[in-house]
Symmetry: C2
Subunit: 409 residues, 2 copies
């Protein structure tokens, strides 16, 4: 059972209202009191009280901004103070590591990314590198006190309850105790939450990117492997243990090749970076540079490069047709390196959807490239770190001193 | 935007509490006041007031039941009065039509099912037959007054917003105005809601069958075609227009045969009834009798029948491996005729999941046959009809006389 108590008392309503206001300001920026009244359906005096609580904690302020071009008294805008509540976002990708300090409201205050050698490595090595990066972005004295949480994006399969990295083939990890090691090494009195990079890319695109405002979204993240971040009714699909979204491992070609996961003919073996490169005559581990070379060759008219992209477009379309029939999404967002491929494969994808998807869901879906670029997952990790605060600001406002380090650490 | 108002006022909380109590009694049967206090987290006096509202409307009563084997004063049980709020459930299947009158709490008060000839037919003919059946089960004078809604299950793709049947290949329907015709023919002052049969089978199994209490469930309904009812975080996956769940039409075999939907190698072409029958040497439209014959032959040791079932088990496993990786469900429920096949294909399915699914989600999933049998979708249609009442009993208790026929009609 997720909720033990299903009834609602006034304290519950008060907490829900604080959460609604904070989420609104965090996701959509400054608002006037009148706008908050209209959006929430609460009374003016209720809004005044709630804003007062945030202001007393230093989380929000009101500015009397001159309203452009409208006559009469300008109305005060309630805005968040980004420096007073910070998220530390970490990202472990196939060929880079990144750390960012993000303020409430989504402003990126500092960011550092370094290349890492592809291939297997130890949890300890990655944690050491991340702690070093974190020291660079998190150097100001106020940062530690204002930190509300740490969010980690990883290219792997994660159990959400405790952040266990069940499998990260690109790193050579299985059942890796990442959160435990990070908690010890970072030594911060805030919770650490870990999630799959595609899930977090989807969250970021949903909140601040190409999928803003959409309710049913498939985010397909293609880097070396292929992951999926699936948004269903406005909420991330996590599954029973947080493993959901591994669309890269749906069997799609029974006559295909063996996948890194041990199965045969997974989607990833047909649309992943390696599949494109091999078809274009490059070694499968050629990386970003080789992908860019293939795209240049295709632009110059090379039939081999074009054929390789057409094949990827074909298999992208086949897999998407199945997913569109299963999920009936309004939007498919192609992220990671797939967003680079998008202009070359879009017509093939659309033709395959016409051929293979059911007419009802096919009519309703748009396929678009991601808009947040390389930092989507990192920004998603920050959102993950803010989530407990957004969900229940009351705990943070009034009970902060007694909040223990939460379960995930 | 789904919700315009995100704030919560006390009237909102009151409505939510009425809903929580009614849902609890409807889904889990009679409860004592103390149990309701414990379950909802509300105070004794709040519970007393809420029960009083239901009692005044005749929806609930309290009985002082002798508690078996416990000393002291027996506690009163709050139970619903099924006859005071009724759902009319209709089902349009490939080879039968059914109507049931179901009381609040889930008791089936009357049920009629008739065979129908397979194949194409007009909306008007089906509506006429359903109205005739409805007249049989709905003959008592009190039924009409106590009716809260009509729920319809159909073997087709349905747009939830207005019940438009976008596609029902087995009936030969496209964009069929079923709700409109039913509303005219039934002439009842209550809303009519339509949904896909697999979605409703899933809802029924979740509430009253094999998936009770589960949060993440894939219900795979195999009749002539293959549909899916997907439960995500305890809620049905509907997609952006209610089309979601068409797992039967995920491309799974690029070298396969053409599907009724126009695509190639859909899952349905490998695990549907026709695929089993053809492999076993029967005509594809042999129906239920032919399927039972194949099962008898397999039991008697026929290699052809066993080979046909193994092939279906193989493709079931391949498709489920993909779905398990995508959804990370706790439970897969095989419904409709797939539940009949279950004992014959279970070992093959489990072996394919071991071979093809990712270790994390694979460990956590159980595959079981459905438990509600042939009436699962019909019972789901009744639940669909009760949903507006369960969601907001206040509207029904206090505003019934001014509630117009809702939008779906």
């Amino acid at each position: 059972m997720r909720r033990v108590e299903i009834g609602q008392r006034s304290e519950t309503a008060h907490r829900a209202n604080l959460s609604a206001i904070l989420r609104e300001l965090h996701l959509r920026g400054p608002r006037s009191r009148s706008e908050l009244v209209r959006i929430t359906g609460l009374t003016r005096s209720a809004i005044r009280g709630l804003i007062g609580e945030f202001a007393a904690a230093g989380l929000a302020s009101e500015d009397r901004a001159a309203a452009l071009g409208t006559p009469g008294r300008p109305s005060a805008l309630v805005h968040l103070n980004p420096e007073r509540a910070l998220a530390l976002a970490l990202e472990i990708a196939v060929d880079s590591l990144a750390v960012a300090l993000v303020g409430l409201g989504g402003e990126v205050l500092a960011l550092a990314r370094i290349d890492r050698q592809r291939g297997h490595t130890s949890v300890e090595q990655v944690v050491d590198d991340l702690v070093e990066l974190a020291a660079i972005v998190d150097s100001r004295p106020t940062a530690r006190a204002a930190l509300v949480g740490v969010g980690v994006s990883i290219v792997g399969v994660v159990r959400r309850s405790d952040g266990l990295v069940s499998m990260a083939p690109n790193l050579g990890w299985r059942d890796a105790p990442l959160v435990e090691r990070l908690a010890t090494a970072l030594d911060l009195p805030v919770p650490i939450a870990v999630a799959n990079d595609a899930d977090l890319g989807a969250l970021a695109e949903l909140r601040r990117g190409a999928a803003r405002g959409a309710e049913d979204v498939l985010f397909i993240a293609g880097e070396v492997g292929v992951g999926g971040g699936l948004i269903v009714g406005g909420r991330p699909l996590t599954g029973t243990a947080g493993y959901a979204g591994e669309v890269g491992h749906m069997p799609i070609n029974p006559d295909g090749v063996r996948c890194g996961c041990g199965s045969i003919g997974c989607w990833e073996t047909e649309i992943g970076e390696g599949a494109l490169l091999v078809r274009a005559g490059y070694p499968p581990d050629g990386g970003r540079a080789a992908v860019e070379a293939v795209l240049r060759e295709a632009e110059a008219g090379s039939p081999v490069a074009r054929g390789a992209l057409d094949a990827v477009g074909h298999w992208l379309g086949v897999g998407l047709a199945g997913l569109v029939n299963i999920f009936n999404p309004g939007l498919v967002v192609l992220g990671g390196r797939l967003s680079r491929l998008y202009p070359f494969v879009a017509p093939t994808i659309e033709a395959e959807l016409d051929r293979l998807a059911l007419p009802g869901p096919r009519r309703l879906v748009r396929v678009v490239p991601a808009s947040l670029g390389v930092n989507a997952s990192l920004l998603g990790a920050a959102e993950l770190a803010f989530e407990p605060l957004l969900d229940d600001p009351a705990a943070w406002l009034h009970e902060r001193q007694v909040v223990p380090v939460l379960a995930t650490a």
